[in-house]
Each structure stands twice: as C-alpha cells, then as structure tokens.
Symmetry: C2
Subunit: 339 residues, 2 copies
Amino acid sequence: MASISELGEFGLIKRLSKDIKINNSSTIKGIGDDAAVTDYKNKQTVITTDLLLEGIHFDLSFSPLKHLGYKAVTVNISDVYAMNAIPKQITVSIAFSNRFPLEAIEELYEGINLACKKYNIDLVGGDTSSSVSGLTISVTAIGEVDKEKVVYRNGAKPNDLICVSGDLGGAYAGLKLLQREKEVFKANPEVQPELTGYDYILERQLKPEARKDIIEFLEKIDVKPTSMIDVSDGLSSELLHIAEESNCGIRIYDQKIPIAEDTNKFAEEVLIVPTIFAMNGGEDYELLFTISQSDYEKVDVSPDITVIGHITEQSKGNFIIASDGTEIEIEAQGWNHTK
Amino acid sequence: MASISELGEFGLIKRLSKDIKINNSSTIKGIGDDAAVTDYKNKQTVITTDLLLEGIHFDLSFSPLKHLGYKAVTVNISDVYAMNAIPKQITVSIAFSNRFPLEAIEELYEGINLACKKYNIDLVGGDTSSSVSGLTISVTAIGEVDKEKVVYRNGAKPNDLICVSGDLGGAYAGLKLLQREKEVFKANPEVQPELTGYDYILERQLKPEARKDIIEFLEKIDVKPTSMIDVSDGLSSELLHIAEESNCGIRIYDQKIPIAEDTNKFAEEVLIVPTIFAMNGGEDYELLFTISQSDYEKVDVSPDITVIGHITEQSKGNFIIASDGTEIEIEAQGWNHTK
C-alpha cells in the first residue's frame, strides 16, 4: 500500500473519495472543484458545523477510528434533524500528524462513508492537511426543509409538553466506563479491560445515531414541535437553551426521565445518581422538543418518545421535581468539553 | 475583562457574536440555534471549507491574530469566487489552548468580522472549543450563483486564453521574508526584524484579499470564463488542475506571468528566480481562468488581468515557455503545506 507522502495531498483526496457516490438530486457537483455546487430549489437550507479534536472530544486509545468517523457525521446531522430538516450534504476536513498511516485515515473514512450511506448524505467536499500532533476533524452538514416546517428553539409556549426521544445518560456512562478501564489498564497492562456486558452504554458513547426516525415519525403523524434541540451537552443545558430562547420556564420530573437499564446499572456500580448522567452527561444525541398539548395523543403512540414535563411562564423558573416533590433548580453547565 | 473560563463556552459565543449583523436576505437565522437557516430561492449554492492549523498553515510569531482572522475568511471566499459565485455566509469554528486570553480570541474575531463586512458576508454559525495545544480555525463558506453562471475547472477548450488576475509570487516572497527575519531574531533577539520597504509582499502574505472585483468585472463585461480556479497552491498546481479536469494541454509564457516589482526585488535578494515564487509559491488568491478568444477584447481593457498563455490539445502536454524558447514541463507540487 502506498504511503500518504507518496500519494501527496491530491492523491490522498482521490483515494479517499474514489468510492463516493452522489445520491441526492440537490447535489450538482461534489468533490473535485473549488467548491461543491448544490441546488435546493424552493426549500430552505440549514447549516451546522462541529470541530472535533483528539484529546478534547475523543480519545483514540478507546475510540476505534471507524466509529469516530461515523460519530463525527452523526453528531453533525443530529443538529440538522433538530431543525426538523433532512441532512443532504456534508463536508469533512481532517488534519493528522505523521503517526497516522494511510490505513488509519482510510478506516476513519470508512466510518464517515458508512454514516453517509445510512443517512443518505453526500460527502461533497473538505480539506486534508498535516498537523503538528493529533487528529482534528471538522464536519459541516447542510440540510433542506420546507420553509414552514423549520423548528427553532424559540417557539415553546406555557403548557406545551416537553418530550425527549430514546433514553439519556447512556453515552456518558459509556465514557466513564471506558475511562475507568483505561486507568486500570494504565496501572497494570496485564489486566484486560472488562467491557463485556456493557454493550449498550459503549455503543451509545462510541457509535451514537442521529434520530432521523423521530423526524420521520413527526412528519408522518403531522406534528410540528413548537421548539426543538438535540441533546449534545446534557439535558440541563438543552432545557435552559429552550427556556432562554423561548422566554419560558421549565418543569420536568426526575422520575419521568428515560434512562436505560444498563445506564442505571452502571450508575449504581459507580455510586452516582443516574439522573446526573442524564442531566449533565451529554452526547446522547436524542431530540428534546416541545409540543402543544393538543398533539399529545398523536405523539403518545410512539414508545420512543417520553413526556418529561411541561413549559411554564418564564417567571416560574426552571425546575426538576424529585420523586419526593422537592424542587431543584436546573443549573447551567460550564465550559467543559471533556467532562 | 472577564476570563474565558469565567464566561464559559456559551458566554464566549455570545460575546464574540454580539456585534454581528445580518446583511444578506438569504440569511434567515444566524448564530443561536442548532443550525443556521438560509434561503437561496432559485439560485444554486456553492460550499467550500478550509481547515487552518497553527504550526502548519500559520505561525503566530509573525501573523497578527487580526490579520489571521481576516485571511481565514478571504482564503475561503476566494474559492467561492472561483466558482463565479458570490459568498453570502460563513461558519467559523475555532479551538484554542489556555495560552490564549480572551483578548486574543477577540482580536481574531475582529479580523473575521472585518472581512465579513468588507465582503458583505454573514457569520452564521460555528463552534468554539478548547484544544490541547495551539490554535485551529475551520471556516466553511457558502455562496450563491445563477444556475447558468457556475464556472467549473472542466470547461477549458483548445485555443482558449489563459488569464490570471493581479500578480503572483508575492505571498510566498512575504512568507520567505518573515521566516528569514524570524531566524535572525532567534539567533540574536537584540536584532530587530528588518521589514521596512517590504510592505507589499508582507501584505500579500499576511492579509490577502479575494478577487471579488474580478468577478464583478466579468459580470459587467458579460464574460463567462470557460474554466476557473483560485491560486492557492501555486500557478503550476492550478494549471494542472485545469488541464486534468478539462482534458486539455497548457502552454504559458514565463515572460507573461505578472510579478510585482517588490516580489522581483526580494527574489533577487535571495537569489531565486521569481517565476519559481509564482509557479510553486501559492497563497496569492488570484483567479486563474480561461476565456474564449472572442472575449479577448472585452477582458483586455482591465489592467488587472493578464493573458499568460493558451489552452492546447491534451496530447501536447503542459508547458511553460522560457524567454529563450525553451519548453519546460509543468510539474505537480507534492504534499507540502508549510512550503
């Protein structure tokens, strides 16, 4: 196999893009010119971008590169779905030091291409570069949406129901598990990491999915959420964004927060209240949204959507209600990417 | 002044985006939701992205942060102009280590905002993050263009004239000067860098402009180039891209390549043939394009566009002709970002 320096930058781009197929009619021209060209006809478009750095957002000692590539795509398109839009194109820029052989970069792109296939997205551009140290990945995703269907964070109204898809806290539990086993391994490299039986939380951390199915379901039942956001920084942080943008208050119930059995089990093991994982963990990439009470019955048929509370007047503040009725104020999370 | 850790990520984003104004009607929603929302009506859109890393693409020991922010924008929108499109929105993601105080990040954004203002672009999104070391900047630019006006790299035909805007090699001369003075300073910190009299090449390197004016001129004289690319990697590399994508040959004349007096002067000083700067230097962000011979007279009125050669049949190969008539094959540049 040729080395990266033998291929050169343009050779590398050619090699990485050789299997790319264009699937969306809105993609007019993909990789290969100064810019990609797209045509959204009479739709609006949404644009979102994320920058992922080794040592900050991921740890290659326990993140396989293929999973990392997949995750880099899903975390971005999750933001597109959170606008009630359908992702259509992504660009991917990567920078990597010379400790990465061509095989490693190809593995990363395998994951990227897998996600593109699964979510029917076209990889239309990007940039490859060397870096002084470590791996950096920057993804920009573009999606399309009918003008009247865009959902912002700012439309929640008092009495709207607060809903969340799937379950929360699992990704953070997976991260804590991986970090724990890494420490054990560092202390004694003879000991093999103990990861069996933790499949669910590991997958939540290493290979999260974006909730395309929820957006499709909402379309099918003809429900447009009044506000929506994806859960990337933890439920607390996302609820506060909705409260701030919609000028409203939040009231959710601890007991209602959906948490998977495996997440509960791990939380018990490490003596942490599982709600903490859900509220402050992040990286679940579930959708948090609000609906009018009149849409409750339509949404309730989905086993994958849970109503966790409701919107109040702004003056009532933002609270989570414990099972004994105690009201705890929801607090913002600080600057903390590694958590 | 508050520190970045006191502000937190969301506080920092708020602070950096507080002065941002939306100027384009295609921008429906800028910073502040999961994604930006845009509406290009019946136009096509072009998307391009660049990833810039400290130590690879820039050296903060001689690049002021404000200039760097400005340049990060111009190099991206240069790709948009190279499609004959008009840039409308950018997203900017940055990651930086704790050695950067808030003032430094604000200075970087000052440059970004300055470029946005000058080129009438809306900053609509991005991401801020900490990094293990160094500064990373990722910019994605989106532009719009009438469907029938998009110019690709692949439309050059035999006998088309090869044109270039402005002059070439200056940015590379500026880089070589800055690197030379840095070495002198490292060897003896008492010696002040000798940069006076080199204003032009320094500006070409530190604060390049994108050729918006050329795109506007071509529109005004109603000339659509048959192919176009921006000069980011050096004239050789760009010519070969056009040759490859258009399945044609290249014939340019050494004596015709526009090189500024200051670039020539510096090249003489360091005993390098100035053509080398132009062919292999890069970062000039001029536009290289081809036009039908019938458009020659219309283009010729511009003092800012030079015809440097013409397109041939592919079988004739890619050559630069020296003043004595010697034919030298144009060669590709390798993987080399720092040059």
